[in-house]
């Protein structure tokens, strides 16, 4: 080290920040002796999902204390179930938000895909599987359109997807009313392939004597997959880059437009998954379903540590954010309170999360690890 006068064992602020030429050649591969102490604690402290993990423990403890039956197996199955479909979407929305964009059409997409599947299966007499394939294609097409419009026009995705949100909402109601003369499609139970598709999307598994919805499994698998994607793959690297500094990313050869379009398609695809889970579980779908859910997804992602400006966040955090959501919503029921309190809780939780995440992020940016 050429920072003579500073002993390596006592790193000072002076030595810490400087890129000093090292003629003695100590900067070779391998860990640097100046970073050893307090590294693990620090690593944990600057993780984006830390705030949500603390929040989840607090919420869990709180409702475990005030609500009877919250910690029973049946109770856990209930709040996990509530968290699952929200969590699937929150994970996808988190990826998109890290990539620097929003998708307001994600909530309505869950209804659109369910409606398409249901109409093809019940009205056109299709088997469920091809109906699912068509609704998936529809979702991916809308996602691609969202992405294409955003990257082509350079307009905020907030506005573009607000447009698709409204358009899909109108389409859901208009087409449903035209086809069924009502605002719902039902009768999935008698369709061909309902059984086999149901096993995949809406069955339950017995764990510790309690029936757990398979959607919980989807949620956990997708959260794990998304976390791996972000941390360990090239595409994950690109997601952070296009959200953090799109122009820089483009300058070093990252296909910014393609990355963003794929992220929009991922969100729409997650909407299809949740729509399929819902239609096969409840066997009917309301045309106005899913409206307003898009904000819950964004809230869960923000609680999980995503920045609204992009470039920072965590998929596992978003999954935990959804868990907090589910625990609070069901905890209030278990505590036999009026569910009106949920909104208050939500608002406080969101503000707390944003404040905590903001301070953590500052620490992460400032920190000299």
């Amino acid at each position: 080290m050429s920072t003579s006068g500073t002993t390596p064992s006592a790193p000072t602020e002076e030595a810490a920040g400087r890129a000093v030429p090292a003629p003695s050649g100590t900067g070779g591969p391998g860990p640097d002796e100046r970073v050893a102490p307090a590294r693990l604690v620090h690593r944990l402290l600057i993780r984006p999902e830390l705030g949500s993990l603390i929040g989840a423990v607090l919420v869990m403890g709180f409702f475990g204390f005030v609500a009877d039956g919250f910690f029973t197996a049946a109770g856990a199955a209930t709040w996990l179930d509530d968290s699952a479909t929200l969590g699937i979407m929150a994970v996808a929305v988190a990826l998109l938000m890290i990539g620097g964009e929003f998708d307001l059409s994600a909530g309505v997409m869950t209804a659109s895909t369910a409606l398409i599947t249901a109409m093809l299966a019940t009205r056109a007499g299709w088997s469920v599987w091809p109906a699912l394939a068509v609704s998936l294609l529809f979702a991916l097409a809308v996602g691609a359109l969202n992405g294409w419009l955003v990257v082509r026009t350079g307009l905020p995705s907030f506005i573009i997807t607000l447009g698709t949100f409204l358009a899909l909402q109108g389409l859901n109601l208009g087409v449903t009313r035209h086809v069924t003369n009502s605002v719902q499609v039902s009768g999935m139970r008698s369709t061909d392939g309902y059984e086999s598709a149901g096993r995949f999307f809406a069955s339950t598994m017995a764990i510790a004597g309690t029936e757990i919805q398979v959607s919980v499994l989807w949620w956990l698998v997708l959260a794990a997959l998304a976390t791996w994607l972000l941390a360990r793959t090239r595409f994950g690297n690109w997601i952070y880059a296009v959200g953090g500094a799109p122009i820089s990313a483009r300058n070093v050869g990252v296909p910014v437009d393609r990355t963003k379009i794929v992220l929009f398609m991922t969100t729409a695809g997650a909407g299809w998954l949740v729509g399929s889970i819902n239609i096969l579980r409840y066997t009917s779908v309301q045309a106005n379903q899913g409206i307003g859910l898009e904000f819950q997804y964004i809230i869960a992602a923000v609680i999980g540590g995503c920045l609204l400006t992009g470039g920072y966040g965590s998929a596992i955090g978003a999954a935990v954010g959804a868990l907090i959501f589910g625990m609070a919503r069901q905890g209030i029921v278990y505590a036999k309170w009026n569910s009106d309190w949920f909104q208050l809780f939500l608002g406080v939780m969101l503000l707390a999360a944003v404040l905590v995440n903001n301070s953590f992020r500052r620490r992460a940016e400032r920190s000299r690890r």
């Binding site: 080290m1 100590t26 900067g27 391998g30 880059a241 122009i247 070093v252 990252v254 940016e365």
Partner: protein
């Protein structure tokens, strides 16, 4: 348009260039003795605006060519032509003696011409090693299991940085936590690592303190010593003179001459940059006003 130069090299700039070219035998080019890069009478217009007119300069391996000019002198246009963002309207652009016409920065990059812009093309919230390999990530595994080779990426980043004499404590820290000079150095090291033969640096020392600027100048010298041709754009003659081998002065889109280091002193360079005759006239004017 690509082939013969549409106009002969301009007198003043051309002579300066050939003198400098002769003084140091360029090791570049496959035994041809051609310059690594050469601009001959290059011009660029945007509509009716003449952004650059009749500029000639050469860049050789193991040398630093400094481009000095005030705001609006045409430095940005000059860089963009070299980097392949714009194509020149007149004159010719030669790489190793052969005329080229780049359709995009990617093509320039493929020929080993790397540009480090002022924004450095780094993502502040991402770690140093992720930034280092962004866009060219090393991977292992096949098909859907293809993943980043993180150990290799970290070790390579650390080695590439230390080869350039940059000693970072931890390649895991976000680039945003580095100082301006360090960030500049990471961007330079990245360009060098990915096979740059010509390094174009867009005002790397602007907005830096004296100490940080010194650090960056040291890395420029190091890149030069490793055999790269460096194009160093700046408006500060005090930064240019210590590392430069050749100085191209731009003013209002025109070349004020291209000088070898032996042909110009720091004082003269400073005088030229400070506005030269214009500033002297202004001084007289102010003097006269003060007397009345």
């Amino acid at each position: 348009m690509t082939n013969p130069p549409t106009r002969p090299p301009a007198g003043q700039a051309g002579s300066g260039e050939s003198a400098a070219g002769a003084s140091k035998a360029p090791p570049s080019g496959p035994g041809t003795g051609a310059h690594l890069l050469e601009l001959r009478g290059v011009g660029k217009r945007f509509g009716s605006v003449i952004a650059l007119d009749d500029v000639s300069v050469t860049v050789d391996a193991g040398e630093v060519t400094c481009v000095l000019g005030d705001n609006g002198a045409g430095k940005s246009t000059f860089i963009k032509i070299l980097a392949g963002v714009h194509a020149n309207d007149s004159g010719s652009y030669l790489v190793e003696g052969a005329p080229v016409r780049f359709a995009s920065p990617r093509h320039a990059l493929d020929r080993g011409i790397a540009t480090v812009y002022q924004d450095l093309a780094v993502v502040p919230l991402m770690s140093v090693w992720r930034n280092f390999f962004l866009g060219s990530e090393p991977r292992k595994g096949r098909g859907p299991f293809s993943r980043l080779d993180i150990a290799t990426a970290r070790a390579t980043t650390r080695r590439a940085l230390s080869d350039m004499g940059i000693d970072l404590r931890d390649v895991e820290q976000p680039v945003g936590t580095l100082s301006g000079g360090e960030r500049q150095c990471v961007a330079i090291a990245r360009a060098v690592h990915f096979g740059a033969r010509v390094l174009i640096l867009d005002e790397p020392t602007a907005a830096l303190g004296v100490k940080q600027a010194g650090v960056v100048l040291r890395y420029i010298a190091r890149a030069r010593d490793r055999g790269l041709g460096v194009v160093f754009i700046t408006h500060n003659p005090h930064h240019a003179y210590p590392v430069g081998d050749r100085f191209l002065l731009l003013n209002r889109g025109r070349s004020q001459g291209c000088f070898g280091k032996s042909d110009i002193t720091l004082a003269e360079l400073t005088r030229q940059m400070a506005g030269g005759a214009e500033l002297e006239a202004l001084a007289h004017e102010l003097d006269a006003e003060a007397k009345t």
